[in-house]
């Protein structure tokens, strides 16, 4: 009999073990329901926020693509604008104008921005009040509304001291002033990312400060600087307000040049002009123009991302 049923002692042991297991399992699995709910709701809110942000972007792109589809053809790139013949109208002068503007901005902003960043990072004594003032104001300038730069450009570049007139170069200068603070900040970030040990290593060999900056710090910072410049430029491409003030006329049927004084235009300015016309054909053109601009921007940003991944230095 004892061999067929467990002895009372082993039975008790089995019960005790089973009980202990159940208690352990319980304490491991029995998370309060309210905690589970709170966690899920929080996650849902986060997902909603992400979805809304992406949905807004997607809606704009899809809307522009659908609406602009009928106007999609190479005419967009090759033809000039027309008020009478929307089927034949395109963006060529505006596209050329935008490319010229960007070129001018790059030529102005890279040497100025990088030099300023090198000064602030490598030479400026941060304990001096004037250097701190400069730093603070560069950061503030990055947040100044673009229309104010437009007025500045009108008063000092188009008229006033520089007196260039309403030419494309004036537009480039104005946009360059607009993005300069951003370029300075991005370049400083890139320069600061070069570890001090690299500078010390170079200086300890008897290199001068300038040799150290020129041959160690700047080469190591270039990928970051270029990325920052491209991102700043893509902001400049989209700017309309300051350009309107410094002479970007909306209707220019010929290719603009840097110094030509018979007017110039840019993509966003022409899009704005088309969109504000009552006829459907022009609204379609405006949508197609948005797509053209987005493609230009995406191409630039993709290049910036590629550049950063390709050359980014792991220290």
């Amino acid at each position: 009999m004892a061999s067929q049923s467990p002895t009372p002692g082993t039975e008790r042991a089995r019960l005790a073990t089973a009980g202990a297991r159940a208690v352990t399992l319980d304490s491991l699995s029995n998370q309060p329901k309210s905690d589970v709910w709170k966690g899920n709701i929080f996650l849902a809110l986060l997902l909603l926020a992400v979805t809304l942000a992406l949905a807004g972007l997607a809606a704009i792109i899809i809307q522009a693509a659908v609406e602009g589809a009928p106007a999609f053809s190479t005419k967009l790139l090759t033809n000039g604008p027309s008020t009478v013949n929307p089927e034949e109208a395109g963006f060529r002068p505006a596209l050329v104008g935008t490319l010229y503007l960007i070129l001018g901005v790059i030529l102005l902003v890279v040497p100025l921005g990088v030099s300023a960043a090198v000064y602030l990072e490598e030479y400026a004594d941060g304990t001096k009040w004037w250097n701190r003032t400069i730093e603070l104001n560069v950061q503030n300038l990055a947040g100044v509304p673009s229309i104010i730069y437009g007025i500045l450009g009108l008063a000092f570049i188009v008229r006033g001291p520089l007196d260039l007139g309403f030419i494309l170069a004036a537009g480039s200068l104005t946009l360059a002033l607009l993005v300069l603070p951003t370029v300075i900040l991005a370049s400083r970030e890139a320069i600061r990312a070069v570890p001090p040990s690299i500078r010390e290593g170079s200086l300890a060999l008897g290199a001068t400060q300038w040799q150290t900056i020129r041959r160690q710090v700047l080469p190591a910072a270039i990928p970051g600087v270029v990325t920052g410049v491209i991102l700043a430029i893509s902001r400049a491409i989209g700017e309309t307000a300051p350009l309107l003030l410094v002479g970007a006329a909306t209707f220019v049927t010929f290719n603009p040049t840097f110094l030509g004084d018979n007017g110039y235009t840019a993509l966003p300015v022409l899009i704005f002009n088309y969109a504000s016309r009552p006829q459907d054909e022009f609204r379609i053109l405006a949508a197609a123009g948005v797509i053209v601009m987005l493609i230009v921007l995406l191409a630039m940003n993709a290049f910036a991302v590629w550049l950063r991944n390709r050359y980014e230095q792991q220290w």
Binding site: T127, A204, L205, A207, Q211
Partner: protein, 289 residues
């Protein structure tokens, strides 16, 4: 740069004299060529002294070790010897550091020229993000030296690295092991042919095998260079150095201010077997850390 430190406050520290008794050593160990004469040097960051009243001579073609607990100012002292402390705006040096009799902090002295003659190897290997070749060629190039290729090869041989890297001179230095990177940094320093090499805990980031290689290297290097090494590792100081300086952290009465102080400076063997100061003895025997 004349010392006019707070003489009246020194009290105890003034009584600490560096042991210099030639008759005990049998021959005058200090009579050799002096590279540095450090006289009553106090280094401060802002108003706080990091190391105070250090007086010691550093002899040519020897390895001189600076040991002591964390915060005793040994790295600070080392970085004064090639004016790397100039890079820290708040750092100031009082007293006198003579390099072959010339005041290193004299008015006409250019820190860049000082660093050409007094090279430095840092705690963490800091190769440039360039190829092995360019890492070494950089120094000679900026100093306008000729025969860059030969210099690179000679420096790599000198740092016992040539056989390991001769087939990958164009590879990025960041692909090397930590020990190789540190020897590359030593080779880089040797390539500009300084007279003195300062080493700031050069092995603290390395494994024992790499450390051993660098220690062997130092024994060879001292034929050609004078070496000053800061180390946390007392065994290392005992193995590689000819003379050892022991520094401690002093606290003032309020326990708020602390600074480094040179306790004893002598031949390495003496410091480790027969120290004159009980604090040195406690430290080297491991009674206090």
């Amino acid at each position: 740069m004349h010392s006019d430190g707070p003489n009246d406050e020194r009290g105890l520290s003034q009584q600490i004299a560096v042991t210099r008794e030639p008759e005990q050593a049998g021959e005058d160990i200090w009579a050799k060529d002096k590279v540095f004469e450090v006289n009553d040097v106090t280094v401060s960051y802002g108003k706080k002294p990091a190391v105070r009243d250090v007086t010691m001579d550093i002899v040519r073609n020897e390895v001189t070790a600076l040991i002591g607990p964390s915060g005793c100012g040994k790295s600070t002292l080392l970085r004064c010897l090639n004016r790397m402390n100039d890079l820290i705006p708040s750092a100031s040096v009082e007293g006198e550091i003579l390099y072959h009799g010339q005041d290193l902090y004299g008015h006409k002295v250019d820190p860049v020229q000082v660093r050409k003659m007094i090279g430095m190897v840092f705690q963490k290997p800091n190769p440039f993000p360039k190829s092995v070749y360019d890492n070494i060629a950089f120094g000679p190039k900026v100093l306008g030296m000729k025969d860059i290729d030969e210099r690179v090869e000679k420096a790599l041989h000198g740092a016992a690295l040539w056989d390991e890297v001769k087939d990958r001179l164009d590879d990025n230095a960041y692909g090397m092991s930590g020990g190789q990177q540190q020897r590359l940094c030593i080779a880089r320093t040797m390539a500009v042919e300084p007279e003195v090499i300062l080493m700031d805990e050069p092995c603290s980031a390395l494994d024992p095998i790499s450390t051993g290689k660098i220690e062997d290297l130092m024994a060879e290097l001292k034929e050609q260079f004078s070496i000053v090494i800061v180390t946390h590792n007392m065994q290392q100081a005992a193995r590689v150095s000819d003379k050892t300086a022991f520094l401690i952290v002093e606290l003032d009465a309020t326990d708020e201010n602390r600074w480094g102080q040179l306790v004893e400076y002598d031949e390495t063997g003496k410091i480790f077997t027969n120290p004159q100061d009980s604090r040195t003895e406690d430290y080297v025997t491991g009674k206090v850390g």
